[in-house]
């Protein structure tokens, strides 16, 4: 097991270096001049321009910049945002909890609805229920989520006025950020109505972000379940006259869940991609929106650092999934 673990990590190191090189070189290839963007329409002399480029470190040779960058990174320094002049790491962690909270809630919605729907669809294969669930799942899977988000906003925030338009909590509530998760912080604050307000702000973005994972999980659960239900041991269990609930719930589901867990792990990348769109639509102050804004502002260091941090997180989650899978299913180790 240890060997398997070490091998996985060893593979990650060159990948991570590659990721850092790609992030670095993209940024150098970007057209546009960060200094001019900062100056806006204010005229600048060539000397002032050169001084500003120097201050940002863009006047040195590329290999030197890359080595510097790697060296600083190993000390946990991802540089300063060109726009805000704040540390990229600090900016990232100021926003990451918002994205994490949103993603976790989206995933909870996806898992809690997707697995039961998939199981029942498999058990009642061919029924009306099965067709409805699978049809809905396919629609969800085909959904342009940026449009889906706009529709929900029109309906629930515009016409029905059930949910607030954007933000994480009603601004009248103000309490210290302890965990960075608004749901938990609002409970800890003890202020009346705060938790409800946080939930009402979170619910639409979480539904939008959870839509595609929900569809994928429902479909995956159904097919994994179908496969397991046709296995000999399930047939045997059935033949033995065990109650259907026991057969499905204990024997079949436990085995069907193995591939589903892998699927859930793989959805992390999907969630991050979805977060870019969802956060943009709902003005959710998370990492995805931050990246989009930075691309438009040509905030070089932020794009570079953000790409790297996000890739690192995805790699880390995938590693965990791999290891878990290795634990559950020893065959994979070789």
């Amino acid at each position: 097991m240890l060997q398997f673990f070490l091998r996985r990590i060893a593979v990650l190191i060159p990948t991570f270096l590659g990721v850092s090189l790609i992030a670095f070189s993209f940024i150098r290839l970007l057209p546009g001049d960060p200094v001019l963007i900062l100056a806006g329409q204010h005229a600048m002399t060539p000397e002032q321009h050169a001084a500003a480029m120097h201050a940002l470190g863009f006047d040195r040779s590329l290999p030197v910049q890359y080595l510097d960058y790697l060296g600083n990174m190993l000390q946990g320094d991802f540089g300063q945002s060109v726009v805000t002049k704040r540390s990229v790491l600090q900016e990232f962690f100021a926003r990451f909890p918002a994205t994490l909270e949103l993603s976790i809630c989206a995933m909870i919605i996806a898992v809690c609805l997707g697995i039961p729907a998939g199981v029942f669809a498999a058990v009642k294969r061919g029924s009306f229920f099965d067709h409805t669930v699978m049809g809905t799942a396919l629609i969800g899977y085909s959904m342009p989520i940026f449009w889906w988000g706009l529709l929900l906003i029109i309906l629930f925030s515009g016409i029905l006025q059930w949910t607030p338009v954007s933000g994480r909590i009603d601004l009248l509530y103000y309490f210290p950020s302890v965990t960075g998760f608004m749901l938990i912080d609002s409970l800890l604050s003890g202020q009346k109505g705060a938790f409800g307000s946080a939930v009402s702000h979170l619910i639409l973005p979480a539904i939008v972000l959870g839509t595609i994972p929900l569809a994928v999980i429902a479909r995956q659960t159904r097919s994994a379940m179908l496969e397991v239900l046709s296995e000999d041991y399930v047939r045997t269990a059935r033949a033995k006259g065990l109650p259907p609930f026991r057969v499905i719930g204990v024997h079949a589901l436990r085995n069907a869940l193995i591939p589903v867990i892998t699927t859930i792990g793989l959805q992390v990348g999907v969630l991050m991609a979805g977060a870019i769109l969802t956060e943009t639509i709902f003005s959710w102050p998370g990492v995805g929106k931050w990246m989009v804004d930075s691309v438009f502002k040509r905030d070089y260091t932020v794009i570079q650092g953000g790409l790297l941090l996000i890739a690192a997180i995805i790699m880390f989650v995938n590693l965990i999934v791999d290891l878990l899978y290795g634990l559950i299913n020893p065959r994979i180790r070789h």
Partner: protein
């Protein structure tokens, strides 16, 4: 972390207590995150709204709703006869804000003024580059490092500025955001703690509101400064709810999630005006949008071609489609609200037939050209792309084939620094200080040829003589006459299609009282109240 928690707990206690006395909270749906909280380092209005206009003061201030100067932290001043020495008498007993992160032990004095300017001017000052990559761009672009010879403390409440040459706009420059006064005592403490970065994150000034907390991309919280020298504000808490999407801002305003917002979509204005709970303030903006022909290039070096193209465009249609009528067609390069505006200049009429004929006369056949459309929305041009499409369709009617090109914003401006850029460029300008010189010389003077300020490459002797004369003339009436003549020359030469002067629209709840629109486009909340 633990320290942060205790701060937070103290804040919490404070808000709960003030909450008991039914605190008045004004929520402003701002259009973006501030870049930082030290106004010296940045140039955007969004940042100034969140910093210099709330937290800080300057030696002199713009009067509310005007571009006139009034005393600020300086009570009075004298200017030497040669115009090179400015001596300021400072206001006594002004307190810096007491916050959870810093409690001042002394009042505002001359040291603070000297510090605030020296850090910008002297590149050996430890505060000159206290954040990596920082530059004092606004100060640089106003020429302060070359202009100011020294800033000296005469006594605790007297400061003397010595200039290298006389400069009439200097007083106005001191009212601008980058001239905000910071606390030297706070700076010294941060320097001693080796946490100089905090200056840009936990700001402290003498202004009407003091900083409480900032959550990036989400919210900035302020509370009224109880010790403000101009008297405590009527609202207790000021909250900036950062909402970059204009349609979301409108929805939040309608839902009373905020009480005031800037920059609505033109499409929503009619609807906002119809809402019984809202009021919509309007003010002619100090701006202009234009399409500049590259006059150094064939066939745009021919006045006839430029005139013909001007006549081909239906401006009214642009104003309808882009601004929903919330703008007026521009005739001159300066807005009508500015002194020196020439009312007698007539616009080129919209007449495609005549335009077609003129092009033929000029010997231009099958012209194909580029129209540059800005990638960003600006108050003077909300949707350059859409305007360019309309112009493209109008040109097609007179047989001119136009291709719309656009580049990322920094790239766009950079390419304009090249004199030989191709075709006609859409751009605009918002005034810095209300002087016609800030438009006519900055955008059309010979000195600006080859910069993005003058994409027309316009340098006309007659025009240049007039504006240069006006620059050194001290009698405003005579200046106005000179500028009026310059506008006649401009219209004859037609280096631009003058598109529009947009109207600045501020929708807000009917409960908001005392909000005054700023001609320079900033948003100030001192003096604002909320009715019960």
């Amino acid at each position: 972390m633990i320290r942060k928690l205790t701060f937070a707990a103290a804040l919490l206690a404070a808000t709960v207590l003030s909450g008991a006395a039914s605190a008045k909270t004004l929520v402003y749906c701002s259009e973006g995150s501030p870049e930082g909280f030290d106004p010296g380092l940045y140039t955007s209005g969004t940042t100034f709204d969140a910093t210099s206009r709330t937290i800080y003061n300057r030696l002199v201030e713009f009067k509310h709703g005007s571009t006139e100067i009034e005393p600020g932290l300086a009570e009075s001043w004298t200017i030497s006869d040669d115009g090179k020495e400015y001596t300021f008498k400072l206001r006594k007993g002004v307190k810096f804000q007491s916050t959870d992160f810093f409690t001042p032990t002394r009042d505002f004095n001359a040291d603070d003024v000297v510090f605030s300017f020296e850090r910008q001017l002297d590149d050996k000052n430890p505060w000159h580059a206290y954040v990596a990559g920082a530059t004092y761009q606004y100060s640089d672009s106003m020429g302060f490092p070359d202009l100011i010879k020294s800033v000296e403390k005469v006594d605790d409440l007297t400061v003397k500025f010595t200039l290298n040459s006389p400069n009439a706009p200097f007083m106005a420059d001191l009212a601008m955001d980058f001239s905000s006064i910071l606390s030297k005592e706070y700076a010294d403490k941060l320097e001693a703690d080796k946490t100089m970065q905090q200056m840009n994150q936990q700001p402290l000034g003498t202004g009407p509101f003091q900083f409480v907390a900032y959550q990036p991309d989400a919210v900035i919280r302020y509370k009224a400064n109880p010790d403000y020298w101009g008297g405590k504000q009527k609202i207790d808490d000021l909250v900036f709810a950062i909402t970059p999407d204009a349609s979301v801002r409108v929805q939040k305003l309608k839902a009373n999630e905020c009480q005031i917002m800037p920059y609505p979509n033109a499409a929503d204005v009619k609807d906002l005006k119809a809402d019984p709970n809202l009021q919509v303030l309007e003010q002619a903006g100090l701006n202009v949008a234009y399409l500049a022909y590259n006059t150094t290039q064939k066939p745009f070096d021919n006045v006839k071609v430029r005139k013909a193209l001007n006549m081909a465009v239906n401006k009214e249609a642009i104003i309808q489609a882009v601004f929903e009528g919330m703008a007026e067609p521009a005739i001159n390069p300066i807005p009508p609200t500015m002194w020196g505006y020439n009312k007698d200049v007539k616009d080129d009429p919209y007449d495609p037939e005549a335009a077609k004929k003129m092009l033929e006369e000029a010997g231009v056949k099958d012209l194909s050209m580029k129209i540059w459309a800005m990638p960003v929305s600006r108050p003077y041009m909300l949707n350059a792309r859409r305007a360019a499409e309309l112009i493209q369709a109008d040109y097609a009617k007179v047989g001119v084939k136009a291709e719309i090109v656009t580049y990322e914003w920094g790239e766009y401006l950079k390419r304009l620094n090249n004199k030989d850029h191709d075709g006609a460029v859409m751009l605009g300008w918002t005034g810095d200080n209300g002087d016609p010189d800030n438009f006519l010389a900055t955008l059309l003077g010979c000195d600006s040829v080859g910069t993005s300020n003058n994409p027309a490459g316009f340098c006309n002797k007659e025009f240049e003589d007039l504006i240069q004369k006006a620059k050194i003339e001290s009698d405003q009436k005579k200046r106005a006459e000179l500028y009026e003549q310059a506008q006649v020359v401009f219209k004859e030469q037609a280096p631009w299609l003058t598109i529009d002067h947009s109207t600045v629209v501020m929708p807000m709840s009917k409960k908001v009282e005392g909000f005054v629109q700023d001609p320079l486009g900033y948003h100030r909340f001192d003096g604002v109240d909320l009715a019960e």
